[in-house]
């Protein structure tokens, strides 16, 4: 848009719309918080109030001290963190190849990655279970990491490719003439310049792995390898749903995901811009 002076009415509309968006985005989260501090006896009677008449942190205490939730949380951190790191490494390599090389089968690879984004993952649960069981990868955090890594590599490759597209090839060529092998040039020259891309990929994958429910549920049945989404569902019993505790657990689980995402979202936009026009 032209950088001309804008009228006040424009700014009113501008900020008004933004206020609506921010309210819309934050309200459900606010409600989550509200339910988590509402004591059980007021849950239903004061359901519609914007803030309970008597707030308490009882749910949080319960979740932290009397449930397995801290264990689930820890497992989630391990799984999501490891997945994020492994995916970033692998997709940095493949994203670099997609950005710099034109090789036979490149289009097939793109097609393959697109197709993997397309089918209902539900279908893979049984076959993967059958494949993993004899390998000891069920009921294990490692198994989850393997599965999550495979799921996230395609989009992460696309992200990293966008970032690499924004770095001129001249730099590697100069390094190769200076005496570096291509891999060395990749490590010492190109990678340090793509730190925003690495941050964006790490954050994106962490968030995706953090919220994964289906495979966490299906591949793991023992509590010691469960992640927190499974833990949240444990608050849903045959007889009732412990909403207060579930929301408290939810808020706790949200904190790392939100923090991480807040930090890296700027780099996501940056990275997608770098390669945006090339699609």
């Amino acid at each position: 848009m032209t950088p001309s002076a804008r009228s006040t009415s424009y700014w009113i509309v501008h900020y008004g719309l933004l206020a609506f968006y921010v309210a819309f985005a934050l309200f459900p989260l606010y409600w989550l918080l509200k339910v988590s501090v509402t004591p059980n006896d007021l849950l239903y009677s004061e359901g519609i109030r914007l803030w309970p008449s008597r707030s308490s942190l009882a749910h949080y205490t319960f979740v932290l001290a009397h449930s397995d939730f801290p264990l689930f949380f820890k497992n989630s951190v391990i799984v999501s963190g490891s997945t994020a790191v492994v995916v970033t490494l692998i997709s940095a390599l493949s994203g670099y190849a997609m950005s710099r090389f034109n090789f036979g089968g490149k289009m097939w690879l793109v097609g393959l990655m697109l197709v993997t984004q397309m089918f209902p993952l539900v279908m893979l649960v049984a076959p993967i279970f059958k494949l993993f069981a004899p390998l000891g990868l069920t009921n294990s955090l490692t198994g989850l990491v393997v599965v999550y890594t495979a799921f996230n590599v395609p989009f992460a490759t696309f992200l990293m490719q966008s970032f690499f597209d924004g770095i001129p090839k001249d730099l590697e060529e100069a390094a190769m003439i200076d005496g570096a092998s291509r891999f060395r040039a990749f490590r010492q020259i190109v990678l340090p310049l793509t730190l925003p891309g690495i941050a964006a990929t790490l954050g994106f994958v962490f968030t995706a792995a953090w919220s994964e429910l289906l495979f966490a549920l299906m591949l793991v049945s023992k509590a010691d390898a469960s992640t927190f989404p499974v833990g949240l569902l444990s608050f849903v019993s045959k007889f009732s749903v412990d909403f207060g505790q579930m929301m408290a657990a939810g808020v706790l689980a949200l904190i790392p995901a939100c923090l991480f995402f807040l930090l890296i979202q700027r780099y996501l936009v940056q990275g997608l811009t770098a390669g945006a026009v090339k699609g």
Binding site: P168, E173, A174, I177, P192
Partner: protein
């Protein structure tokens, strides 16, 4: 330092040919300029010498050794890129010493070599800064410093001055020439700017559409261009080209233009009667006479004063041409102007092949 031999080299991208059977022999210590329009293959040839592009057929030798199979890092050459390609996250000092660090040079020697190169290029005060804080000219010097530090067998320049403004380009041209005089390293320089080619080269290689058109000293190309392409490419303002027919009556040769005018040619020009030709004469060779004595007549269409001299656009009923004179021209647009085309300054080319007629 070494000689560079390009033998029968061709290059195709898939089925698209880009270079056709290029033969070039560069002496040790020579400064050779590859010049030509965009897409003529000069950069591709340079990158093949560097090892950044593969060779479809033929051989390239550096210092007598075939380098087709060697990676860039093993060819012991240095390259200055058009975009400078400085490592943005490293200081100037680290940029210049990167290649030495790769070879595990002891830090004392590294410091010595880097500061020697820096003082040669006037970069001492910039050693601790990052590239983004430097101007275009300074960055270019750092790129050159990076190359000097390695003391390679050859320097390769890929249009290094194209991103600079006119004044800086002049300055850097002189610096590059001085540097070559000091170091005496074999150099291949690619540019599309024929002024750079003329001023920097020991020899020029003019290229068009993947084929070498002419190899020679700058004056060779200026005074005896072997074909229409070279004649039109070298020289500024560009050469005037007119269509004509060569006439030989057994004794005298002359060229008849479409206008019916006749230009006498030098007697040893070889060609047969009735041959369609193109006549070239440089604007600086067009003589503006004061009376119409045995010359031609046209009218002034445009006068472009350049300070040093003046370009006069002359129009006649059948053609237009430019003249360049070293004086103030007081002609008024529209007035008539007499001029002559001396036979000794004509360049005559066959109209079909574009080749210069032998003499």
């Amino acid at each position: 330092m070494a000689s560079i031999e390009v033998q029968g080299v061709s290059k195709s991208y898939g089925t698209m040919p880009v270079l056709h059977n290029v033969d070039l022999s560069i002496q040790d210590g020579e400064f050779v300029v590859l010049v030509g329009p965009s897409g003529c293959g000069k950069s591709t040839l340079l990158r093949m010498v560097a090892g950044l592009e593969g060779i479809t057929s033929g051989a390239i030798r550096i210092g007598g050794r075939v380098v087709n199979e060697l990676a860039p890092k093993d060819r012991d050459i240095a390259m200055v890129f058009q975009s400078y390609a400085l490592y943005p996250h490293m200081t100037v000092r680290d940029n210049m010493s990167y290649s030495l660090r790769l070879r595990r040079t002891p830090s004392e020697r590294m410091a010595q070599v880097v500061s020697a190169a820096a003082s040669k290029l006037g970069l001492e005060t910039f050693l601790g800064r990052k590239p983004r804080t430097l101007s275009g000219g300074q960055r270019q010097r750092v790129a050159m410093g990076r190359s000097i530090v390695r003391q390679p067998k050859a320097f390769l320049f890929d249009e290094p001055l194209s991103n600079l403004d006119a004044r800086l380009r002049e300055q850097m041209r002189a610096e590059i020439k001085k540097l070559h005089r000091d170091l005496g390293t074999t150099s291949i320089y690619v540019t599309h700017d024929q002024v750079e080619a003329m001023t920097l080269a020991d020899r020029i290689v003019a290229m068009n559409e993947g084929i070498v058109q002419q190899v020679g000293t700058p004056l060779d190309l200026y005074e005896r261009p072997t074909n229409l392409f070279v004649a039109s490419f070298i020289g500024s303002p560009a050469i005037n080209i007119l269509d004509g027919i060569l006439r030989y009556d057994g004794e005298h040769r002359l060229i008849t233009l479409k206008s019916g005018e006749q230009i006498p040619t030098a007697s040893h020009v070889q060609g047969h009667d009735g041959q369609a030709v193109k006549v070239g004469f440089r604007p600086e060779d067009v003589q503006i006479s004061h009376q119409a004595e045995g010359g031609f007549m046209g009218h002034v269409e445009l006068v472009e004063p350049m300070g040093l001299g003046t370009i006069v656009h002359i129009g006649t009923t059948h053609y237009a041409l430019k003249a360049f004179v070293l004086e103030r021209v007081d002609r008024i647009v529209g007035t008539s102007i007499p001029y002559r085309l001396p036979a000794s300054k004509l360049h005559i080319f066959d109209a079909k092949t574009g080749h210069r007629l032998p003499e």
